[in-house]
């Protein structure tokens, strides 16, 4: 198995996911099955193969840079931007405390 229980807990924390205790073993097994399958790539001769980041752009040239200017079409008013927020106040998204309040 490529991935054990500790790996699952570590990557779950990195991904901000919580895997219930009774699913950790099974998750490790499922992820390992895919990674073991992916090990087939080691049999492939990759000599001279640079990494491909985006396919299909080579022949067409590099992606263009847009002008460094405001794009009015894509500008959202604060009301629109906040319309789908679970909680908001004034012109801001509302979240629980980010840092501990040391001087209450």
């Amino acid at each position: 198995m490529s991935i054990d229980r500790e790996d699952v807990k570590r990557i779950a924390e990195l991904a901000r996911l919580e895997i219930p205790e009774d699913r950790i073993e099974r998750t490790a097994r499922e992820l390992s099955a895919v990674l073991d399958y992916a090990a087939a790539l080691r049999r492939l001769d990759l000599e001279g193969c640079e990494p491909t980041v985006f396919a299909g752009l080579g022949a067409a040239g590099p992606a263009p840079l847009r002008a460094d200017a405001l794009d009015d079409v894509r500008r959202l008013t604060p009301e629109t931007a906040l319309a789908a927020a679970p909680e908001h106040e004034d012109d801001a998204f509302l979240v629980p405390p980010v840092v501990e309040n040391l001087n209450p």
């Binding site: 991904a15 996911l17 399958y37 090990a39 492939l44 193969c49 931007a81 679970p86 629980p96 405390p97």
Partner: protein, 499 residues
């Protein structure tokens, strides 16, 4: 044709009647709802969201240009990961329940600019992760040809809707086969364009270097008409190609003199006999239409699957980091601090398959494993691109299965992620290489004790080969039937039968 049969029309025929003033836009748009949806939709569940009021408003707006618009009055069901302001956009996920985006995707605007009307949102596997549309938080979609079987995925909703007659055209997205595989399972055309030909602006991102918006239709000509309306550069998506899109207006030009690759080593084992038979029918039909077969061996699909499930999950783990319960969608209501807010929202909001892929991608990108997995996969991707380049040095296009199997049963693969991933073995390569692929239906299987099921082939081509793929697809639309039925035959679509 009586007014009651409008839903059977192709998009181009329907638009022509609207332009001629023989058909009102609202009647064209509602034809599928008044006709087949009443019989089918409750069983198939192709539609995730719709709203008669929004349809009526869009029909009125579309009526202004009805005399000239190329897609005048054409109803289109679009996958629920394309942002629309007049319907919710939920990606089949609980984490986006009720979400309404503040803008329309570029392809949605272009549909509208060409006279088409979005009639609702098609069901899908959550965040387009799946091959059966069983992983939707809003319940599965079923295959109209056999309600016990899946429609394929992840764009199963639009594929099934086009097959049963709700609308002549649907839009999906294809990251590893999510348009071409459901098209095969539902017996309709499904185009994944060249990477960068259709704008991804407003398509909720899964694997940004792989995602393309794709087109479903019952007829090759409708794929061409929709592609012509949607393709081209978009200033809001820097990965769109800056050159004009290839001209597909001669989609009916025939295949005389064309060469097609025949990599038969790929289906010597592990592919169902009915699928192989479909390939042989297609090859003979193309040859009779004047194309020439070029046989060669091609790289086995296992390498593409292995590469894809590292690249796609890595990109997904990064793209899906934005769903955190702060700016939109679902928020867990018990979170003492912001870190708990993120973790609890994501754990309750994402389904198991999405969580699995996020974990896999996070692992492939994490310190100590990046070189072994992600970087290796990116280098393998280069190798795979070169394999396709070498193949297309020998032929204009290549035949391949769209799926190794006919539509499978609901529940058959939901507990075995790897088995589900392998149903994409023939479609994934095109996404890695950035090339276009078209699923072409080749009729139904014989009735051997079960309902006849759709059978299909996939035609792959080099970058910007959409005109070639459509010509081949059209040749099969006409000629595939000729061979199957043993007689000259019109290109009537092989409709499902309601049981």
């Amino acid at each position: 044709m009586s007014g009651a049969d409008v839903w059977r029309l192709s998009a181009t025929a329907l638009a022509a009647r609207v332009r001629a003033g023989d058909l009102a836009v609202a009647d064209a748009v509602e034809s599928g709802w008044r006709g087949p949806a009443a019989a089918w939709e409750a069983d198939v569940h192709a539609v995730a969201h719709t709203d008669p009021g929004a349809r009526a408003a869009a029909s009125s707006a579309a009526a202004r240009d009805r005399r000239t618009a190329p897609l005048a009055g054409v109803p289109v069901l679009v996958k629920d990961n394309l942002c629309t302001t007049d319907y919710p956009t939920t990606c089949g996920s609980r984490i986006l329940a009720g979400y309404r985006p503040p803008y329309d995707a570029t392809v949605i605007g272009r549909l509208r600019d060409h006279g088409a009307v979005v009639i609702g949102k098609g069901n899908m596997d959550e965040f387009a992760m799946g091959s059966s549309t069983e992983f939707s938080a809003y319940g599965p979609t079923r295959n109209p040809y056999d309600l016990g079987r899946v429609p394929g995925g992840s764009s199963g909703g639009p594929a099934a809707a086009v097959a049963y007659g709700l609308c002549p055209v649907g839009l999906g997205s294809d990251t590893g086969g999510s348009v071409r595989q459901p098209a095969a399972f539902c017996g309709v055309f499904g185009l994944k364009p060249t990477y960068g030909r259709l704008s991804r602006y407003g398509l909720v991102a899964f694997g940004s270097s792989l995602d393309q918006v794709g087109i479903f239709a019952r007829h090759a000509g409708d794929v061409a008409a929709t592609y012509a309306a949607l393709a081209g550069p978009d200033p809001h998506d820097a990965t769109t190609r800056q050159t004009p899109a290839p001209d597909v207006s001669r989609w009916d030009r025939g295949v005389a003199g064309l060469t097609f690759g025949w990599p038969a080593n790929l289906w010597r084992e592990g592919v169902e006999p009915d699928v192989v038979e479909g390939l042989e029918i297609a090859a003979v039909a193309l040859e009779r239409a004047g194309a020439r077969r070029v046989a060669f061996d091609f790289m086995p699909g296992e390498y593409a699957v292995a590469t894809y499930y590292l690249v796609a999950t890595a990109e997904a783990s990064s793209n899906l980091a934005r769903f955190d319960g702060v700016r939109y969608g679902f928020r867990h209501d018990d979170a003492p601090d912001v870190r708990a807010l993120y973790t609890r929202t994501r754990s309750a909001g994402f389904g198991p398959e999405v969580q699995r892929r996020i974990l896999l991608g996070t692992y492939a990108l994490s310190a100590g494993y990046y070189d072994a997995y992600y970087l290796t996969a990116q280098r393998a991707r280069t190798r795979i691109r070169r394999e396709y380049e070498a193949a297309f040095a020998r032929c204009d296009c290549m035949l391949m299965p769209a799926s190794p199997t006919l539509p499978f049963r609901l529940g058959e693969k939901t507990d075995d992620p790897l088995a589900m991933y392998l149903s994409d073995i023939f479609t994934i390569g095109a996404n890695l290489a950035g090339i276009p692929g078209l699923t072409v239906p080749v009729g139904l299987t014989g009735a051997n004790g079960r309902p006849p099921l759709p059978r299909a082939v996939q035609v792959l081509g080099p970058e910007d080969a959409e005109p070639v793929l459509l010509a081949a697809g059209r040749a099969l639309e006409v000629g595939g039937d000729t061979i199957r039925l043993g007689a000259a035959h019109d290109t009537e679509f092989a409709w499902p039968t309601k049981r």
